[in-house]
């Protein structure tokens, strides 16, 4: 059975700028203690960035200490490879040894080599290491990236395929898993996005192919169209595989994010469907959709221009 990682606070933070009420976080930690989830990714650790970013973008030590006390789960934080270098590790990760079990790294395939250097430093501190490699639908366009995956062996504990655009289909999941397995012995993970409402079937397909770990978030809260919904994965695995699920705990935690859902209204819609279908970046779409200033039609026009590589949009 694949392990499950819930990354609601980390991925959901794209909507709240990584601020969450502490009472909501506490409810989340209490409910997930009663659910068959293995890992909780609670945020980023980062060097100071320009502009305001909330608590769960930095995960200060006092917060991680409190989470550790409240949660029975393995705790995970993630680093943005584009911002973090090996020389930052001592300050960022040294103080959280023992508070965090796994450190994941969000990686652009173009910088796999640099990420390997960073990961070796992380590994030395004794953390489990996860590689979250983005843009899986375009990996074939990244030169020798696939062949270089052999270098991941012995460094990463999990190598994740990230469907950044939310546009892959079950057959793509199978094809990419096979391709990756030809090149690394590392355990595999899948992080789906829900632009085309394929996050569940892609994840179940990955599970049927022996994937080792699956990411999900409560109500699918996450960047752009959002992620695989934790409650959907658990409900499906309950009825299909007999996974033991405490539906009262699940109902409680889902309910507790209801106010945020009403406020931010994440989830898929036509612009996200178009961007997912055509492997267009959803960052722009998210900016356009969430400002609520642009009509669907103007967003769609901009996306069609992007697709046609028109510069001026």
């Amino acid at each position: 059975m694949a392990k499950i990682l819930d990354c609601t606070l980390r991925d959901g933070g794209y909507y709240t700028n990584w601020d969450f009420d502490k009472s909501l976080v506490n409810q989340y930690l209490e409910s997930t203690n009663n659910l068959p989830i293995d890992y909780l990714e609670v945020g980023y650790r980062s060097i100071p960035m320009k502009g305001y970013l909330g608590k769960y973008f930095y995960c200060p030590i006092y917060e991680l200490e409190d989470i550790r006390k409240r949660s029975l789960k393995k705790i995970v934080i993630i680093l943005n490879e584009k911002d973090i270098r090996v020389e930052h590790i001592k300050d960022l990760l040294g103080p959280i040894v023992g508070l965090v079990d796994m450190v994941r790294i969000a990686i652009d395939p173009e910088y796999l080599g640099r990420a390997l250097v960073l990961a070796e430093g992380v590994k030395k501190l004794g953390f489990e290491v996860g590689f979250n490699v983005m843009y899986m639908s375009k990996w074939k366009q990244y030169g020798d990236f696939i062949k270089e995956l052999k270098n991941v062996d012995g460094i990463a504990d999990y190598f994740y395929m990230v469907d950044s655009y939310g546009g892959v289909y079950p057959e793509d999941v199978i094809e990419t898993m096979n391709l990756v397995r030809e090149n690394t012995k590392c355990k595999l993970g899948f992080h789906g996005h829900n632009n085309l409402e394929l996050a569940l079937i892609n994840s179940l397909t990955a599970i049927s192919q022996g994937i080792d770990i699956i990411d999900a978030t409560i109500w699918g809260m996450g960047r752009g169209a959002g992620n695989l919904k934790t409650e959907l994965l658990l409900t499906a695995l309950n009825s299909k595989e007999g996974l033991d699920v405490d539906f009262n705990a699940l109902g409680t935690v889902v309910n507790s994010f209801d106010t945020l859902l009403k406020k931010y209204e994440w989830g898929t819609n036509l612009p996200y469907m178009i961007s997912g279908s055509n492997s267009l970046p959803q960052k722009d779409v998210m900016d356009w959709v969430t400002t609520r200033f642009y009509s669907f039609n103007s967003i769609i026009q901009a996306l069609q221009n992007q697709k046609a590589k028109v510069e001026d949009n």
Copy 2:
């Protein structure tokens, strides 16, 4: 390529009690004229029922005349087999010959025999006939139902598999299509519900197996967790199959249902996921969810009791 039937007004009427602003209906008809949709199902025709039901539950002749003038598409209405007998046909359908192209019949598999008698009467008036047979995930429990499908030949133009509970998976779609094909030569249709966010992949699977017609609705507006989203199907077929889609028309029609979506908030959630996963009737869940009086936890408890066949809930 499968034909596409949009049944937004008919299935969405479960939320609005079949009342829709005429200006919205006109916008819908104008936009769909520019989209690759073959049939529009605009509502029920019915004998008078107890309690108030809006215009699109009865589809009066003046409305069908107006729709006929505005729309370039084939027009469809549906009959509820449980309420309509062959003796009602003359009054209900006689006056709409020429205004409507197809008459569908919503059928409980238990009453297939009675439906065949009704359908013969419909067919005699020259309509295309669609059989929408409910509860596909339980058909094996309906005795000789599958064998009796041979009687559909020559009467129905389309025989639809309806995933009433929204709980079937792609492999179930394939299995059921094969089972049905062993017993009837009738063209096949699929009507998905989205409890498990599987409506798209189930429909694409059906298309890959040569299904003849697929149902969808704008924003997935429909009973309970809702249907396959028309915009999702069209976007996926555009990028996968090169289907020509006017995304401005699609954006316009999706936008025009936005106010209703904000008011009624259809779509899947944990109670619908549980009911779908366990083939429990979504009518009750819809009543509980839409009153907004019951907490998720009390709904979930009631569903778990239903699943365990506890009487008192």
